[in-house]
Subunit: 331 residues, 2 copies
């Protein structure tokens, strides 16, 4: 991996969705590396933004509250930036089915407005987009690599495909320097735990800390890989520093594949509190469930040497500690 | 193929984009088969709608001018329909790069508003969507079948993918009875010939009829297949009558693959007027050019027996005749 210490010191960086889970962890890391960081966030209540996520960095990170759908704000904010990490988005699968228009606005229109702003006002900025493994839909084979068929099962998945592909179109047609990372289930400090909007794991963490009950859908045998947020941050920084990554798409993935039942069991064990129970799939969840998923990350490993550094036990332990210490800010 | 005569007599049919090229040809055919046809069209000037396209059918086809982005209109119009042919769209690749937001509205938001209207007010309607071969981008192999990678090269292509995939998502999640046909270059009477927005062939037809000059980009060796509009109409009717086609995607394709230079030469020959000339690619066209394309239509041939019935010479001859007779309505 590149030596991030040297690379980002003194660089200007814009992070959309920067008060959210991954954005805030990235912003803190970049500030520690000496970058001049601006975060943009709309703080829409159902999304992941939380001002507490940047606590302790108030005088080192500039926070700009704005809606990324607004090209006028973006026209101003992108100017002079060396890097743009484009992490803003609506991530709830179910919300996208209840309100497909809002999902379209956030995941498609906003991406166009950001790319148009860059094309017109900062065509040299290095752009990294956070895509999602969700666009593969039901895996045809495992682990899923980047050439797997794209076949989303919900409106959010369709719109996230479009958001990613605009980045590729603007790269080919206009030479913008874009890369997409397709994230799998990311977890760690500063994730949304109010509900299951960001991932099922958020609400699970909250339930076990409250000594409550985790509900696992179906037989709990659906298998997943998870990435600890610090590993995602390293991948984001890594592709941003790599010229060969321009125009490319990379999967992230985890080394430990677990069933949801095993994961619930481990979480209860590590927390020393809470229980879990298998319950039938709710109808609207079943309609968009994809079964087993885990990703092949050999492409980014080959290009950057990236691999997950934080194992599941370590990552869950750190995450539980964080939310026990700061539950008032997240509940 | 199903006996359309029996099937559509007395059925109610809604056609979005029904004053446009393919929509109007379909509407006329369905009216001839005894269906009760309503067409919806926004008549946006840059698009393909032209009231003359339904000339002679004024008392047999109901015309409703409305914007398909407006869910309120659609909520009303979809009620009581047995069939919905969803053909409305913005088709210009270059316009989508100049104004990506409008393309998003027309090709994504409108599809959501149509599907939401159907889900809420007519979940049993049989829906056929007109997709495009353009979403494959630069072919990895030829002929291109439905399992070819989807990799659009422009904003219009990305949005057309999203529009198609919403139809698949609503089929899986809500049981709506949707099918997508991925059309290749369609030509014939009632196409837009004012400019190259619908296809390059429109402006070529106009130029040769005017005894003018057709401009062929590059070396003219890019190969394409073309489908005469009557064959597209038969395919639309065929999938609509086939229960096995629900949730499926089918390519159309042509038996005669021609280079653009050969096509220009043939057009000049058949018309007995006009000339053609090779010119360098305009920069913004080159950025989104896809090279050779022709499609594999064996899937729809296997399912429905569909194959193109009208050869290129016959189709071009009929088309030239039509526009010579009606140029005042189209120029």
């Amino acid at each position: 991996m590149t030596d991030h210490e040297d690379f980002f010191a003194g660089r200007t960086v814009l992070i959309t969705g920067g008060l959210g889970f991954i954005g805030s962890n990235l912003a803190r890391r970049l500030a520690d590396l000496g970058a001049a960081v601006t975060v943009v966030d709309s703080l829409i209540p159902e999304y992941g933004g939380n001002p507490f996520n940047l606590s302790g960095y108030g005088n080192r990170i500039r926070v700009n509250i704005a809606d990324v759908r607004d090209e006028y704000s973006m026209n101003y904010l992108v100017r002079g930036q060396d890097f743009l990490f484009n992490l803003a988005g609506q991530v709830s699968h179910l919300d996208s089915m209840y309100n497909p228009y809002t999902d379209l606005e956030i995941n498609c229109r906003s991406q166009l407005s950001i790319l148009e702003a860059c094309r017109k006002h900062n065509p040299d900025v290095r752009i990294v987009y956070s895509g999602t493994r969700q666009i593969y839909g039901v895996p045809q084979y495992l682990p899923v690599d980047e050439s797997h068929r794209v076949d989303p099962v919900d409106v959010n998945g369709v719109n996230k495909v479009a958001g990613e592909w605009y980045h590729l179109v603007y790269q080919r047609a206009y030479g913008l320097r874009t890369t997409s990372l397709r994230l799998t289930n990311t977890y760690g400090p500063r994730m949304r735990v109010k509900d299951a909007r960001q991932t099922f794991l958020g609400i699970w963490l909250r339930r076990v800390i409250e000594d409550g009950e985790v509900l696992v859908y179906g037989d709990g045998e659906q298998r997943r890989d998870l990435t600890y947020v610090d590993d995602v941050v390293e991948a984001l920084l890594g592709v941003a520093t790599c010229d060969g990554a321009v125009g490319e798409i990379y999967n992230l993935g985890g080394d430990e594949v677990v069933s949801l039942r095993e994961l619930a069991m481990q979480l209860v064990h590590l927390s020393g509190s809470g229980t879990y129970r298998l319950v039938p799939f709710p109808v609207e969840q079943k309609a968009i469930d994809i079964g087993d998923y885990y990703g092949d990350y050999s492409k980014i490993n080959g290009a950057l040497g990236w691999r997950p550094a934080i194992g599941l036990t370590e990552g869950l332990t750190r995450t539980l500690e964080y939310f026990r210490a700061h539950r008032d800010e997240y509940w």
